[in-house]
């Protein structure tokens, strides 16, 4: 099969660009820790397992006691349960500059967990625990919302983080 010289140049340029993109995201993901949320992988202070019986969430530690726990110098773990149509605990408060680990599961359907304007965005699948880390440098009121359709009240499913 014959490729025109210019097409070879183009495909080499295009291919090289793609390799560069892959290298950039690969290196930042695997060597600098910017991995997409994939379960309990990110939390250094995590509870028991990656999975939980979705019908026994309220009885299973740590989700039997949703809330904020201080685990280090300005370092917190927020244990959260998502449900149609809300998050528990709701309207949490955190000091500015705090490094926060969110560990979240769902007790019913699939939900999303997103803080607009940040990279905090992950899927909450029933049966699984998902985790994400974020440092709240700027004080203010942050919105947490569900970005996966979860029923007729999906648009009401939100809460806030007050960073002081």
């Amino acid at each position: 099969m014959h490729l025109h010289k210019y097409e070879r140049i183009w495909l080499m340029f295009g291919g090289a660009s793609l390799v560069v993109f892959l290298a950039v995201i690969g290196i930042t993901a695997f060597f600098m820790g910017d991995q997409p949320p994939s379960g309990a992988f990110c939390a250094p202070v995590f509870a028991n397992a990656d999975t939980v019986d979705p019908e026994k969430v309220t009885e299973t530690p740590p989700f039997n006691e949703p809330g904020i726990k201080k685990v280090g110098e300005n370092q917190y773990v927020v244990t959260m349960v998502a449900y149609s149509f809300g998050f528990q605990p709701s309207n949490i408060e955190i000091p500015a500059g705090a490094e926060v680990y969110f560990q979240v599961t769902s007790k019913d359907v699939v939900h999303g967990f997103e803080i607009p304007g940040t990279n905090v965005n992950m899927m909450i699948t029933p049966g699984y625990v998902n985790t994400i880390r974020y440092t709240f440098d700027e004080p203010g009121n942050y919105l947490i919302l569900c970005n996966e359709y979860c029923g007729v009240g999906h648009q009401f499913m939100s809460t806030t983080v007050e960073v002081k």
């Binding site: 014959h2 025109h4 210019y6 183009w10 340029f13 660009s17 993109f21 995201i25 990279n119």
Partner: protein, 54 residues
């Protein structure tokens, strides 16, 4: 036989080179390169936005 085969092959090659010259595709190369530049610029802009939010 082998020689004629070889000659034929050369003939085909010559023809191909000729058609390649006839097919002036400079505009095509320029167009795809503009496209390539757009891809690279946009991707790095989005990557920069991502890093600024990390």
């Amino acid at each position: 036989m082998a020689q004629t085969g070889l000659e034929q092959k050369k003939l085909v090659q010559d023809q191909q080179e000729k058609t390649e010259q006839q097919m002036a595709l400079k505009g095509t190369l320029a167009s795809v390169m503009i496209l390539g530049a757009l891809i690279v610029i946009s991707w790095f802009a989005m990557f920069a936005l991502f890093m600024s939010r990390q």
